[in-house]
C-alpha cells in the first residue's frame, strides 16, 4: 500500500513537473515570439507608414503617425496568438525623422496554492528609418 502511494506520489510529482516545464517553456517561447513579432511588425509598419509622396517631392523621409499605429495593430493582430491578451504601448512616434518606441507585453496566469500569479512578458523596441549612408 505504501508503495502504491509512493508510486502515485512520484507520478503526481512528475505530472506537476511536466506542467511547470511546459508552462515556463510556453512563457519563454511567448517572449521570443513576442520580440520577433514586435520587431518584424514594427519594420513592416514603418515602411507602410512611409510618406512616399513627401519623399518624392522633397526627398524628406517621413512616416505618418497614425498610419504606423494602424498598420502595426493590424499586422500584429494577424500574427498574434488567440490564446494571449496583448498590451501594446506605443510611447513615441516621431514622423520626421522617423523614430518609434514601443513595447508589447502578453500575460500568462497560473494558480499556485490557490493564488493567481500573472506572468507579464514585456518587450521593448526602439527603431528608426535612416537613409542608407
Amino acid at each position: 500500500m505504501n508503495e502504491s502511494f509512493w508510486g502515485i506520489g512520484v507520478i503526481s510529482f512528475g505530472i506537476i513537473g511536466v506542467f511547470f516545464i511546459l508552462f515556463f517553456q510556453d512563457v519563454t517561447n511567448t517572449d521570443e515570439h513576442n520580440y520577433n513579432l514586435l520587431k518584424e511588425t514594427t519594420e513592416a509598419a514603418m515602411y507602410d507608414a512611409f510618406a512616399y509622396d513627401t519623399y518624392n517631392q522633397t526627398g524628406e523621409v517621413r512616416i505618418d503617425r497614425e498610419k504606423f499605429v494602424e498598420s502595426f495593430v493590424r499586422r500584429f493582430a494577424e500574427n498574434a496568438t488567440l490564446a494571449n491578451t496583448y498590451k501594446i504601448k506605443i510611447y513615441d512616434v516621431n514622423e520626421t525623422p522617423p523614430k518609434v518606441s514601443l513595447s508589447v507585453s502578453s500575460s500568462k496566469t497560473a494558480g499556485f496554492t490557490g493564488e493567481v500569479v500573472e506572468f507579464n512578458i514585456p518587450n521593448k523596441l526602439d527603431a528608426i528609418l535612416e537613409t542608407p549612408y
Binding site: Y91, V93, E130
Partner: protein, 1149 residues
C-alpha cells in the same frame, strides 16, 4: 383600442401617400403632362369647326391667346410677319434643339433666365395644342409656325412677382399696365382659398393672323370662370356660351369683324381692324380686360396643377410676308419714319407693297441741307441747265435737291463786270478781300459781297504786304500753321498777330534777360531753371521758385569751389538777395551771399622718404614750434626749404591744413594737422567686419535664415576720391521654396537674409517692415476662394502677379564722428538696377556732432514680383488652410513661396547677385570724398545647407577637403561633381551602378549626367531621383536610445542623411529615454475577440495594409488621421495623448 388607432393612422398615412395634399405642393418639373387627366368642366362640350374638325374642349378657364408681337424700345407693336419662327411642338423639344429664336421662345427663355419660371413642366395643354397644331399643319395657307408655353408655379410669396413679370413685361403701354391692384387681386383670389384648386391662366389679347393674301381666320378660344364654359369662334361661327365673347365683341369689335370674314375672300389682315390694334395697344387693362383674367375654380379637378399659373403664347405666321402700304404700317402698327430719324418719302401716302422690314428704307428718307448734299461728294449736282445756288436753307430730301438747291443758269454778270459798272457797291466788307472765282450773276452789292469777296484768313495774310503792312508775327512769336484757315477779323497787323501767331519758347534766362519785364518776385528767380524752355506767359510759373537760400542751392559747395571760393556754412539759411539781373549776376549774388574766400590753405605733402622721416615730419607738424612759425607768417615754401625730407617722395595720405596761412599770416588761429582721410579703407573694412560678425547690441530679426560673411573688399579710387567698401553676404533661407516651372519642393533658393541689427551700435542695420514675416503660400485650386474661405487667410493674391516689397533701412552710426564740422551729403547708391530708391536724404552736417546715437538713415525700397503659374492662387493662411474639396484641383501642391517682403526675392536664383548700397559724400577740408558702402546678396541653393556630400553621391555625409571652399564660390552641382564623385561629370553614377567600388555607365547614369549638365537648375536630389532607380530610400534599424549610432569602433559612425544632425539625434532619440516612464502615446489592448475582429477587418480590406484610411490636413499631407483607429477606438485607451483631438497633444508630455 390601440390596434384601432394604429390601423387608423396606417390608413391615414396611406391615404396621404396615395393622395398627396394638393394644396401643399407645387408642381414639380417631373409631373406628367397627361392633360387627359384634366377633367373638363361642365358645359364645354364638343364643338365643331366649320371644316368638320372636332374640337373637343379647351380646359376650363384657359383662354388661349394667340398673339405675335414685337417689343422695341419698351413698346409693343403687333406684327405677325416680322419674326420668322420655327416649329416647335413642345417646350422640351425646343430646349432640346436649342433653337430658341422666335419671339415667344425668346420671351420664354427670358422669363426662365430671370428666374420667374419656378418650374417648367410639360405642357398641360398638350392635347389642345396638338389639336391646333394638327389643324394648322394641314392648312397650307396658314401653317402653324410655333407655339411655346411658359408656365411657372408659384407660391403666395412670388405670385405677385410672377404675375408682374408676365404682365408688366408684356404690357402694351407703360401707362396702361396691369395695375398693381389687379395683380394683387389675382393673387389674393388664387391663394385665399387654401382648400380649393385653382387654375389661372391669363394671356394677352387674341389676334389670329391669316396668311398672306388669302387667309383663314382662326381661334379665339376663351373660357371664363363662370361655369367653366368654353367660348370660341372660328371663321364660320361664333360660339357664345357666356358673356365672355360679348366682352370680346364689346371691346374688340374689329376682331369680331375679322372673325366673321369669309375665308374664301381675299383678305388683307388688319386693314379693317386698326381700331382693334389701337385698342390692343392702348387698352386699359384694368377695365377693358378685367374679365379676361381671373381665377377659375376647378370643381372635381383631379389634376395636381395646384397653384400653377401660366401663360400660353401661340404664335402663328403666314407663309409669306405681307406687303402693306406705308400708311398702313403707320396706322396699323405705329411705324413712323421719325423713329428711324428720317422723314416720310414724298409718296408716302400712296406707296404700297412694302414689307415691314423695308419700311424704314422704302417709306422713309433722310433730309439734309443743300450745302450738305452739295458737298457730300456723292454726286448730288444740279441737272443740266441749272446751277447750284443753295437757295433753300432748310433741310430737304435728296430728291428735292435739284428743285431746292439749284437755279436755272443765268447769263451772269461777273464780279469784274459788276465792279466795273458799280464801283460804289463793289466794296468788300471789313475783313474781306476780293475774290472773283464764282460764276454768279452779280446784280447787287449784297450779291457782290457774298460772291465776290472772301474773308481774310491767316494763310492769306501770312507774309503778304497790303498797304505797306507786311503781315508777320512778332519776334517772340511764330506763325501757327494750324491756324491757316482761321478767319482774321480785319486786316490790321495786330489782329493778324493775335489770331495767327503763337508764343515761342525761350529759356528762362533769355526771358529773364530780355528786358521786357519778365521778372520774379524778389529773390525767387530760380537760376537752376535758367535753361528751361518756357513760353513767355509761363515765365512766372516755371522760372520762379521759392525764395532761395544758400543751402537750397544744389551743389553749393561745388559751386563755391568752382568759383575759387568755399561755401560759408554759417550762411546756409541766408536768402539770396534780389536777382533782377542776368544769370551771371545771379551767380555773382550766390557767390557773394553763400560763398566766402577760401581762407585756408592746404598743402599736399608729397611723401615721406622713410618711416623715420614720416615720424619726424609728423612730429614736426604737431610741434608747437610749427604753429609758432606759422603764426609768425612763415610761408610753406620756407617750410619746404627747411624740411625738404618731408616734402619729397611718394604720395601719402596726409595733408596740412592751416587757416589763412598765406592770406592772413598774422592770423591768431592755431594751425593743425588733420588727417585727410580719417576713415581709411582699413578702418571701414574693420568696421564692416565687426558689424557683419553680429557684434552689435541691437535687436536681431529672427528668421530661419543663415548668413555668413563671404568676402569683404575695399578700394580707394584716386581719380574719384572714392573709398569703396564692399562685403558680400551669402544668405539662404531654410524654408523650402519652389520656383515656378520647377517641380514642387525640388529646387530651393534662399529667399531672405538677416543682417545684424545694430540700431544702437555702429554701422549698417537692416530693418524690415513689421509685416514682413507674412508667409506667402501658393496652392493649386480650380477656382478662387469664396469670401468665407478667404477668412482662413491673412492675405491672398488672386491675380497672377504677386508683388513683394521691402523697405530696408540702412543706418550708419558713427563712433568717431568722422564728419564733425564738415559738410556731408548723403545720397543713395542707385547704380544697381535692382535697387529702387524711394527716399533720398541730402543731409548737411554743419558743426553738428554725430554722436554714437546719431544715425544716418537711408531707406531703400526693393520691389520684386512673382508670377503665379496658371490655375495657382497664393494665400497666406492664418494657421491651417483647410480647403473644402470643392476647390480640389491638386491640393497637395501646397507650397510655401516664402516671405513676401524680404530683400531677397523668391525668384532670385543661385548666382544672382543683388546689391544695395549707400554712398556718403563728405566734404572734408573742402575736398569731397565719396564713401560707398555696399552689401551684396547672393542667394544660394537650398541643398547647400549642409557642407557634406548628399545622399546617393559616392561620399554621402562626408565633407571632402576643399568641398566647403568650393561651395563658397561655385554651384552646388559643380562641387558635388568635383568633390563627391572624385571629380568631373564622368564620375557621376547612379547609386545602383556602383557596387563595391566598381561602377558601370548605365542609361540611368547617362540621364543623371545629362540632368546635372542641363543647366536646368535642378537639384542633385531631383536629378538622382528622376534619373536613377532608387531601391530603398531608407532602411529600418532598431537602435539603442543611449547610443543610436555606435559605429565599428564604438566612436560613432556617419549617420544617415536624415539623421545627420546632432541636434536631431539628441532631441528625438537620446532625450526620449524617459518616455517609457510616461503615459504612452497609444495604448492598445488586444484580446482574442479583438484580434479576431481585426483579422476580419484585414480580410475585408481590398488593398491590404496599404488601404488608404488616412484623412490628412487638406492639401498638406500632414496630421493624418486613420479611420481604422476611429473604427477600433474601443481597443485604444482613450486617455492617451495620441487619441486626443489635438494632434499636438503629445508634444507637451
Amino acid at each position: 383600442m390601440k390596434r384601432k388607432k394604429i390601423i387608423y393612422y396606417v390608413l391615414l398615412i396611406s391615404l396621404y401617400i396615395l393622395c398627396p395634399n394638393n394644396s401643399a405642393h407645387a408642381v414639380d418639373a417631373g409631373v406628367s403632362s397627361s392633360t387627359g387627366n384634366v377633367g373638363t368642366v361642365g358645359g364645354s362640350g364638343t364643338c365643331a369647326y366649320c371644316d368638320g374638325t372636332t374640337f373637343k374642349s379647351i380646359y376650363q378657364g384657359v383662354r388661349l391667346q394667340v398673339i405675335h408681337a414685337k417689343k422695341s424700345s419698351n413698346k409693343w407693336t403687333f406684327d405677325p410677319y416680322t419674326y420668322p419662327v420655327d416649329i416647335y411642338y413642345d417646350v422640351a423639344t425646343a430646349k432640346k434643339t436649342n433653337n430658341i429664336n422666335s419671339y415667344a421662345q425668346t420671351r420664354f427663355a427670358y422669363n426662365a433666365k430671370k428666374g420667374h419660371v419656378a418650374s417648367i413642366i410639360s405642357n398641360p395643354f398638350k392635347t389642345n395644342v396638338d389639336f391646333l397644331t394638327q389643324k394648322f399643319k394641314n392648312n397650307a395657307a396658314n401653317p402653324i409656325s410655333a407655339w411655346v408655353t411658359t408656365y411657372f408655379t408659384g407660391t403666395d410669396s412670388n405670385c405677385m412677382q410672377n404675375l408682374k413679370q408676365v404682365f408688366r413685361n408684356s404690357s402694351i403701354d407703360s401707362n396702361h399696365q396691369l395695375s398693381e391692384k389687379k395683380i394683387q387681386n389675382i393673387c389674393n383670389s388664387v391663394f385665399s382659398n387654401s382648400t380649393a384648386e385653382y387654375y389661372f391662366i391669363d394671356a394677352e389679347p387674341l389676334l389670329v393672323v391669316p396668311g398672306a393674301g388669302k387667309g383663314t381666320l382662326y381661334e379665339l378660344i376663351a373660357g371664363n370662370k363662370s361655369g367653366c364654359n368654353i367660348t370660341y369662334t372660328n371663321q364660320c361661327n361664333t360660339y357664345v356660351n357666356n358673356g365672355a365673347i360679348n366682352n370680346v365683341q364689346q371691346y374688340m369689335p374689329a376682331l369680331t369683324k375679322i372673325e366673321k370674314s369669309d375665308a374664301s375672300t381675299t383678305y388683307t389682315p388688319f386693314l379693317g381692324s386698326a381700331s382693334a390694334i389701337e385698342r390692343l395697344k392702348y387698352a386699359d387693362w384694368d377695365s377693358d380686360y378685367k374679365n379676361w383674367s381671373g381665377s377659375i375654380k376647378f370643381i372635381n379637378q383631379k389634376t395636381i396643377y395646384e397653384k400653377m399659373y401660366g401663360i400660353l403664347i401661340l404664335s402663328f405666321r403666314g407663309s409669306t410676308k405681307t406687303q402693306l402700304s406705308c400708311s398702313q404700317f403707320e396706322k396699323n402698327f405705329g411705324y413712323t419714319c421719325a423713329q428711324y430719324g428720317k422723314y416720310n418719302v414724298s409718296n408716302y401716302s400712296t406707296k404700297t407693297g412694302v414689307s415691314a422690314d423695308k419700311y424704314s428704307t422704302e417709306c422713309c428718307e433722310t433730309k439734309k441741307t443743300c450745302d450738305t448734299w452739295y458737298n457730300s461728294g456723292k454726286g448730288e449736282s444740279c441737272s443740266s441747265g441749272y446751277e447750284y445756288d443753295g437757295h433753300t436753307t432748310s433741310e430737304i430730301a435728296k430728291s428735292k435737291f435739284n428743285s431746292s438747291c439749284c437755279a436755272k443758269e443765268k447769263t451772269s454778270t461777273s464780279c469784274e463786270t459788276f465792279k466795273k459798272n458799280n464801283s460804289k457797291d463793289a466794296v468788300c466788307p471789313t475783313g474781306a478781300y476780293e475774290s472773283f472765282s464764282k460764276n454768279v450773276d452779280i446784280t447787287s452789292k449784297t450779291l457782290y459781297q457774298k460772291n465776290c469777296c472772301k474773308s481774310y484768313t491767316c494763310s492769306y495774310l501770312k507774309n503778304k504786304t497790303i498797304d505797306k503792312t507786311t503781315y508777320k508775327c512778332a519776334s517772340d512769336e511764330k506763325y501757327d500753321t494750324s491756324r491757316d484757315s482761321t478767319t482774321v477779323s480785319s486786316n490790321k497787323l495786330s489782329d493778324f498777330q493775335t489770331t495767327c501767331c503763337a508764343d515761342v519758347k525761350k529759356t528762362c534766362a533769355t526771358w529773364y534777360n530780355s528786358g521786357k519785364g519778365e521778372t520774379c518776385e524778389t529773390g525767387t528767380y530760380d537760376i537752376e531753371k535758367s535753361n528751361v524752355q518756357v513760353y513767355k506767359d509761363d515765365f512766372t510759373d516755371k522760372c520762379c521758385g521759392a525764395a532761395k537760400i544758400c543751402s537750397n542751392v544744389s551743389n553749393i559747395s561745388n559751386f563755391c569751389v568752382a568759383n575759387d571760393k568755399v561755401y560759408d556754412i554759417t550762411k546756409q539759411n541766408d536768402s539770396i538777395p534780389s536777382l533782377n539781373l542776368t544769370l551771371e549776376s545771379t551767380r555773382e549774388s550766390v557767390l557773394n551771399t553763400c560763398c566766402k574766400e577760401d581762407d585756408s590753405c592746404t598743402y599736399e605733402v608729397k611723401s615721406f622718404n622713410s618711416d623715420q622721416n614720416k615720424d619726424k615730419c609728423c612730429k614736426f607738424f604737431q610741434d608747437e614750434n610749427f604753429k609758432n612759425l606759422l603764426a609768425a607768417g612763415k610761408s610753406i615754401e620756407q617750410f619746404k626749404e627747411d624740411f625738404p625730407d618731408c616734402f619729397d617722395g611718394e604720395e601719402i595720405e596726409y595733408s596740412v591744413s592751416t587757416p589763412a596761412c598765406d592770406s592772413n599770416p598774422n592770423s591768431s588761429k592755431v594751425a593743425s594737422i588733420t588727417p585727410k582721410n580719417e576713415l581709411t579703407t582699413d578702418n571701414w573694412v574693420n568696421l564692416l567686419k565687426k558689424l557683419l560678425s553680429g557684434s552689435g547690441n541691437g535687436e536681431s530679426v529672427e528668421m530661419d535664415t543663415v548668413c555668413s560673411e563671404k568676402q569683404c573688399d575695399s578700394s580707394y579710387d584716386d581719380d574719384n576720391a572714392t573709398n569703396k567698401s564692399t562685403c558680400n553676404l551669402v544668405c539662404y533661407n531654410k524654408l523650402e521654396v519652389s520656383l515656378p516651372g520647377k517641380p514642387d519642393g525640388t529646387f530651393q533658393i534662399g529667399q531672405h537674409f538677416v543682417w545684424p541689427n545694430n540700431n544702437s551700435g555702429n554701422g549698417f542695420s537692416y530693418k524690415p517692415l513689421s509685416s514682413s514675416t507674412t508667409k506667402v503660400c501658393r496652392i493649386m485650386t480650380n477656382k478662387v476662394l469664396s469670401d468665407n474661405d478667404k477668412t482662413l487667410c491673412q492675405e491672398y493674391f488672386e491675380n497672377k502677379d504677386l508683388d513683394s516689397e521691402t523697405n530696408i533701412q540702412l543706418s550708419i552710426v558713427y563712433e568717431n564722428d568722422p564728419f564733425k564740422g564738415n559738410s556731408t551729403e548723403l545720397s543713395g547708391d542707385n547704380d544697381s538696377e535692382n535697387v529702387v530708391t524711394t527716399d533720398e536724404y541730402n543731409v548737411q552736417f554743419n558743426n553738428s556732432k554725430l554722436n554714437k546715437k546719431s544715425a544716418v538713415q537711408y531707406t531703400v525700397n526693393l520691389k520684386n514680383s512673382y508670377s503665379l503659374p496658371s490655375n495657382y492662387y497664393a494665400y497666406s493662411p492664418k494657421s491651417k488652410l483647410l480647403l473644402p474639396t470643392s476647390y480640389a484641383t491638386d491640393l497637395t501642391k501646397y507650397v510655401d513661396i516664402g516671405y513676401g517682403n524680404l530683400p531677397i526675392s523668391w525668384l532670385w536664383k543661385h548666382g544672382d547677385e543683388k546689391k544695395v548700397g549707400i554712398s556718403i559724400v563728405a566734404s572734408v577740408d573742402n575736398k569731397s570724398i565719396n564713401y560707398v558702402y555696399e552689401c551684396k546678396f547672393e542667394p544660394t541653393d537650398f541643398d547647400k545647407r549642409e557642407n557634406v556630400c548628399p545622399q546617393y553621391s559616392k561620399k554621402p555625409g562626408e565633407s571632402p577637403t576643399g568641398f566647403e571652399e568650393c561651395l563658397n564660390s561655385n554651384s552646388y552641382g559643380n562641387c558635388i561633381k568635383n568633390f563627391c564623385y572624385d571629380g568631373g561629370n564622368d564620375n557621376l553614377y547612379c547609386p545602383n551602378d556602383c557596387q563595391q567600388g566598381v561602377c558601370k555607365t548605365s542609361d540611368d547614369t547617362l540621364k543623371l549626367r545629362e540632368c546635372m549638365n542641363s543647366g536646368n537648375n535642378k537639384s542633385f536630389f531631383e536629378c538622382v531621383t528622376s534619373s536613377c532607380e532608387i531601391n530603398k530610400p531608407a532602411i529600418y534599424r532598431t537602435i539603442s536610445l543611449v547610443n543610436p549610432f555606435p559605429g565599428k569602433d564604438g566612436t560613432g559612425r556617419i549617420k544617415g542623411y536624415n539623421w545627420n544632425n546632432d541636434d536631431l539625434v539628441t532631441k528625438y532619440i537620446t532625450d526620449t529615454q524617459d518616455y517609457y516612464n510616461k503615459t504612452p502615446m497609444y495604448e492598445i489592448t488586444l484580446g482574442p475577440s479583438e484580434i479576431s475582429k481585426i483579422r476580419a477587418y484585414n480580410k475585408a480590406s481590398v488593398a491590404g495594409y496599404l488601404n488608404d484610411t488616412l484623412t490628412c490636413t487638406s492639401g498638406l499631407g500632414i496630421n493624418c488621421r486613420s479611420s481604422f483607429i476611429t473604427q477600433f477606438k474601443s481597443i485604444f485607451n482613450s486617455n492617451t495623448c495620441g487619441m486626443s483631438n489635438d494632434w499636438n497633444a503629445c508634444d507637451s508630455r
